[in-house]
């Protein structure tokens, strides 16, 4: 259900763009209005959500630790995987974001029958990490390469990326590896979701839809570049006019396929702040990663704590002592008895605790 619904949603989106442009000629809507609206939604939505996250307290010191904490001087601490300093946290975040270390530790429960005996093991499972890191880096390369449509003159970096990306000089226009890897890895991640029963069981529309959406963007892009060629010069006229905020639809006709591509991208942008893709800012905000593991060095007070009104037993006795003595109830302090004991100079007074410690706080 989730799978089919997500796939259909993406197909319908493509159909909408096709119908809107090829059928109704609404190039301005799909080429200018929707992209601008989507980008505004992206920035506003993302910023508001991050600010909202910032308002929620982090009541506990909950970093996940993956190494020895700093303790006694002769025990070697792992200062990156169990950071006790800000520098350590920065190093940890750096590797987390750029190399996805926590995903690298992904494990899988493995059940099999060996020598007639059932064996359950916890084994390492690196494919998720491999697919994910290739997916993210190829996405980054594709994104940076697209700067060629939004800047004039095009930054040198784009030329370098294109040269590396088209390293094999295969075909004309040159095959860029990033696009192929991007779609292939999105496919591999989808395949993983569909084929592993436990992962499939917990997968929802909000997991499938972004995958299909990104695959849709990749496939329309690949079609435009290698198969159904579009007028890229005219497209840059349009995208440049968007970048300098003076939008015009160029004279030369642009294929509806381009509008389908940019419509899917717009949907991705607009959907972003409301989706799981918010793990992009989220990774920086997750307390299990960005806190120092100084739970033994520093006292952490729950910021939600508010001054609680208390009435201790001592205060209670103070209020009712006379009545209690009158009624013959035992009391901690009996001024009359204490005075008598003081006169007797006996050891009893010494043994009497002054203020029972447990009662405090």
């Amino acid at each position: 259900m989730h799978v089919i619904f997500s796939l259909l949603a993406v197909i319908v989106l493509i159909a909408i763009a096709y119908a809107g442009v090829a059928g109704a000629g609404m190039t301005y809507l799909f080429g200018v209005v929707i992209p601008y609206a989507a980008v505004i939604t992206f920035f506003l939505g993302l910023i508001l959500k991050v600010l909202k996250w910032g308002r929620s307290a982090v009541p506990f010191n909950i970093p996940t630790t993956c190494g020895q904490q700093k303790s006694l001087p002769w025990i070697k601490p792992n200062s990156v995987d169990n950071p006790t300093s800000t520098g350590g946290v920065l190093a940890r975040m750096f590797f987390e974001v750029l190399t996805m270390r926590s995903l690298f530790r992904n494990t899988k429960l493995d059940y099999r029958v060996a020598h007639g005996q059932p064996v359950i093991r916890q084994g390492s499972e690196k494919f998720l990490w491999l697919f994910a890191i290739l997916f993210h880096y190829s996405f980054l390369v594709v994104l940076l390469w697209h700067l060629r449509f939004f800047m004039e003159p095009v930054p040198k970096l784009v030329g370098v990326i294109e040269a590396l990306d088209g390293f094999f000089e295969f075909g004309l226009p040159q095959l860029l590896l990033s696009g192929v890897i991007l779609v292939a890895m999105a496919g591999a991640l989808l395949d993983r979701r569909l084929r592993m029963p436990n992962i499939r069981y917990i997968s929802l529309t909000s997991d499938y839809f972004p995958l299909f959406l990104i695959m849709g963007i990749g496939i329309t892009g690949i079609l435009m570049r290698y198969l159904l060629r579009v007028d890229i010069t005219a497209i840059k006229e349009l995208t440049m006019s968007l970048a300098v905020m003076k939008p015009v639809i160029p004279q030369a006709p642009i294929d509806p396929l381009f509008y389908a591509h940019i419509f899917l991208v717009s949907v991705l942008f607009a959907y972003f702040p409301f989706s799981k893709l918010m793990h992009m800012p989220g990774v920086f905000m997750s307390p299990t990663r960005n806190l120092t593991t100084n739970s033994r060095e520093v006292r952490h007070v729950n910021p939600w704590n508010y001054p609680v009104k208390t009435h201790t037993y001592d205060e209670y006795e103070e209020d009712f002592r006379d009545l209690m003595i009158e009624a013959g109830l035992p009391v901690e302090h009996n001024p009359a008895e204490e005075a008598a004991a003081a006169e007797g100079g006996g050891e009893a007074a010494e043994a009497e605790p002054e203020a029972p410690e447990e009662k405090k706080e």
Binding site: I47, E152, R229, D231, V244
Partner: protein, 129 residues
């Protein structure tokens, strides 16, 4: 808000990076669309103009494969006209100024075909004579 300083710094960095094309070019007019100088000696290209604008590199690839792999040097255009498949001797015979034609569009999109590592531009042909 907790850690307001850090969060807001992070958001500012994010916005600045992600809006690079906007603030980099703020207030500028959209750069003029490239105007490749069309040949005066001919009226039509090998194929339709629209096709040439979108797919000339695929045509060149087909030509290259036909010549180098199949020794086939004759291309029949849409109106039955025959062309000798050659980058320098055909395309560049009509489009005889690379800078004013091919490079116009290519610079606009930062495309740098490596063809000219080996193939000669019309200027180089003139020089070598």
């Amino acid at each position: 808000m907790y850690n307001a300083g850090k969060i807001i710094t992070g958001l500012v960095i994010f916005v600045v990076i992600f809006t690079l094309p906007l603030w980099w070019q703020v207030g500028k007019a959209a750069p003029p669309a490239p105007k490749p100088e069309l040949p005066k000696t001919a009226k039509v290209c090998v194929e339709d103009t629209a096709y040439m604008r979108t797919s000339h590199m695929q045509l060149l690839n087909d030509w290259r494969n036909a010549v180098v792999r199949d020794q086939d040097r004759v291309y029949v255009g849409k109106d039955g006209k025959k062309y000798s498949m050659s980058l320098t001797n055909d395309c560049m015979a009509c489009h005889n100024d690379k800078k004013k034609f091919c490079d116009q569009c290519h610079n606009y999109l930062a495309v740098a075909p490596y063809c000219w590592d080996c193939h000669l531009t019309p200027e180089q042909v003139k020089e070598s004579k």
